[in-house]
Amino acid sequence: MDFKFTAQQEAFRQEVREFLRKELGPDWKGGKTQEMFSPEFSRKLGKKGWIGIGWPKEYGGGGRPHMDQLIFGEEMLYGRAPAAAHILAQNMVGPTLINVGSEEHKKKFLPMILSGEVVFCLAYTEPQAGSDLASLQTNAVADGDYFRLNGQKTFISFAGEAHYGWIGVRTDPNAPKKHRGISIFIIDMKTPGVTTRELHTMFDHTLYEVFFDDAKVHKSCVVGQLNQGWYYITQALDHERVFMAATIAGYQRIFDEIVEYAKVTKRNGIPLSKDPVIQQKLTEMAIELHVGRLLGYRLAWLLEKGIVPFSEASISKVFTSELEKRLGNLGMQVLGLYGQLQQGTPRYAPYDGYLEWEYRFSPMQAVGGGANEIQRIIIAIAGLGLPR
């Protein structure tokens, strides 16, 4: 067993770190979700060749192994690089098209994803199809060379900014199993009959509802084969998983800031870091972060060996998302009364209210991307072989 990174890997980490420092500036502290959406930064990253670093070279990607992707992801997250404009296209759209897309789709979309010029939104969830995603009802009915789409999606990130939507729709309402009647479409978000409406979250992120009102799209918009959508949704998650393996790095950054604050801030004449109660909480979190990071390394290692880490990814998701909530709470506890001050409060708000925002944002991960209750069932059934 060997937990060391190679000299080349360490050098790559350094290169990423320096690039980010140069592009974002030494004082870059990141921001809320909306501020992490920067088409300008995505284009710069594309120009550097660092979008799709894990994609195969024949499709213009970097062809880098999973461990490199993990390192890259860690540095991006620790540096709070504003990657939201291209991350979905890079992790989900591109890899799926490479696996199952038509030549036409590959030619059209892959280059623009790699250059960071295109924004995709992912639209699966519906008002009646959350955890039970396969029961989605938005439908596409064939009409000559076209399909007509009707229905509603909800909780969609960046639908207002996206050029294209990656959408799960029902194309065979009579399929014997509901999973078998779903297809993926790529649609131009400007298509007549497609409208969006803002949904405002408590963490200042704008989500969208997306409505399809007899929207007419050409049959060439179908990704891969008709009615194979569920398979694509569940299988093409490798790149998503390796990104997940890096998640802890972002939390480590928050934690490091909390520790720094505790060291320099005095309360009742002594540094917060000397307060036994605060110390206790900080060390607990330090241990959790340490352990969580190894979960990510294990995930990347399995991917590197060509193993699909199905339940391991669920473990990682549950562990990190629940850790994030504790971290959000920890930050607020350390800040005490100051914790409630929001961004923009003159003089008094520590870290310009970042931890206050984190507290509001932190419940999101346990809910989104497959609720943790569902993840635990995946772990139990797929990982541990418990009966249905």
């Binding site: 067993m1 060997d2 937990f3 060391k4 990174f5 461990m67 520790v259 505790a262 060291k263 870091s273 000397k274 110390q279 206790q280 900080l282 060390t283 607990e284 330090a286 241990i287 340490h290 352990v291 969580g292 190894l294 979960l295 390394y297 294990r298 290692w301 391991e312 473990i315 549950v318 562990f319 209750e373 993840q375 635990r376 069932i377 772990i379 139990a380 059934i381 990982g383 541990l384 072989g385 418990l386 009966p387 249905r388």
Partner: protein, 378 residues
């Protein structure tokens, strides 16, 4: 990075599992809990024949010449089976400090016999103050010509009642720091003035009170330098801590597997209880603890084996985490088993109790949180 076991480690794991499944059934574990000696000489001899006592000892001392990571794999298997007896204290607490710090003469005297299974060793460090630091060492050793005379009481000494030799941590002078002035001696357990009493414990693991009353030890039995024992002891404790973690992770795995088997088979409301979501969630939570424990065990053990400067932090994180994980897993395991799990005849209770004694050994969670706090510079 390479997170796989080597081929040799896989083989060691398989052969250890096969051997222990056959030779160390839970009925034997239960019987030996009640036994005065607390180990099976027959199994002990067979383990020696397999080369386990000398696994990490160099070949010139009659060992197998394998590495610390290999020992970790073996201990994980032993923890899975709750192997009773003096393996841990002989090999980890006894042979490693001699290998690390002994004179050539001491190595030649003790190591080949340990490798053959002819000697039982243990370490007497903790005292009634019940602390795992240098300041807890009050037992005195005073020099009288070529001999030292030891006086004091050692507590929580593993298997001292059956040990041939006890490595005893003594205070030989009061220095500026508590770490200065500690000296180790390899004491013949039959020496006049040693009184040993086994204490009943939650883990039924034969922890003893050992009283040293004017016990004479020849100078040649000093391990390392006069006043310089802490350095040896702290390394021994680091190795012992992560070795204990290996046993504990093995125990977590066993408790997990027993629970999975049970919830698949136990039927209520016409269905196996493992099909109920609440049980599935319990099991998922247990499994997350097992997986994370395993990862941090290997990372920390690797750091120790490689002698990295970060090994103390890694070990602190590992023990802090695994302490809580083993308790969590065994408590949930009990809950999933229902009333049957609480009976003496059921195996789960063996693990539930061991989780607690494991936590207490070599530093509980609070102890290691303090270490982590120091490393964070708090």
């Amino acid at each position: 990075m390479n997170l796989d076991l080597t081929e040799e480690q896989e083989m060691l794991r398989t052969s250890a599992r096969d051997f222990l499944t056959k030779e160390c059934p839970k009925a034997l574990v239960r019987k030996l809990e009640e036994d005065n000696k607390g180990f099976s000489p027959d199994m002990w001899r067979k383990m020696a024949d397999l080369g386990w006592m000398g696994l990490v000892l160099p070949e010139k001392y009659g060992g197998q010449g394998m590495g610390f990571m290999d020992l970790i794999i073996l201990l994980q298997e032993m923890g899975r089976n709750i192997v009773p007896g003096p393996f841990f204290c002989t090999v980890v607490l006894g042979s490693l400090p001699i290998l690390n710090a002994g004179s050539e003469e001491q190595k030649n005297e003790f190591l080949p016999k340990i490798a053959k299974g002819e000697l039982i060793m243990t370490l007497a460090f903790t005292e009634p103050s019940a602390r795992y630091d240098a300041a807890g060492v009050h037992t005195k050793a005073e020099t009288h010509g070529d001999t030292f005379v030891i006086n004091g009481t050692k507590l929580f000494v593993e298997n001292a009642h059956i040990a041939n030799y006890i490595i005893c941590a003594t205070r030989t002078r009061k220095g500026d720091a508590p770490e200065d002035g500690i000296t180790l001696f390899i004491v013949d357990a039959k020496s006049q003035g040693i009184k040993c009493e086994v204490m009943p414990t939650i883990g039924a693991d034969k922890l003893c009170e050992v009283v040293f009353d004017n016990v004479k030890v020849p100078k040649k039995n000093m391990l390392g330098k006069l006043h310089g024992g802490w350095h040896i002891l702290s390394k021994a404790l680091e190795q012992a801590t992560i070795a204990k973690c290996a046993e504990m992770v093995g125990g977590e795995e066993a408790a997990m597997e027993m629970t999975l088997a049970y919830v698949k088979e136990r039927v209520q409301y016409g269905k196996p209880i493992g099909s109920f979501q609440v049980i599935q969630h319990y099991c998922a939570n247990m499994w997350m603890n097992v997986e994370t424990s395993r990862d941090i065990l290997y990372k920390a053990a690797w750091s120790v084996a490689e002698g990295l400067p970060t090994s103390d932090t890694e070990v602190a994180v590992a023990k802090g985490w695994i302490n809580e994980a083993y308790k969590f897993v065994t408590e949930r395991a009990l809950q999933c088993h229902g009333a049957i799990g609480t009976t003496r005849d059921h195996d789960i209770g063996l693990y539930y109790r061991r989780a607690k004694s494991g936590e207490l050994a070599f530093g509980d969670t609070d102890f290691y949180k303090e270490v982590v706090a120091q490393k964070l510079g708090l």
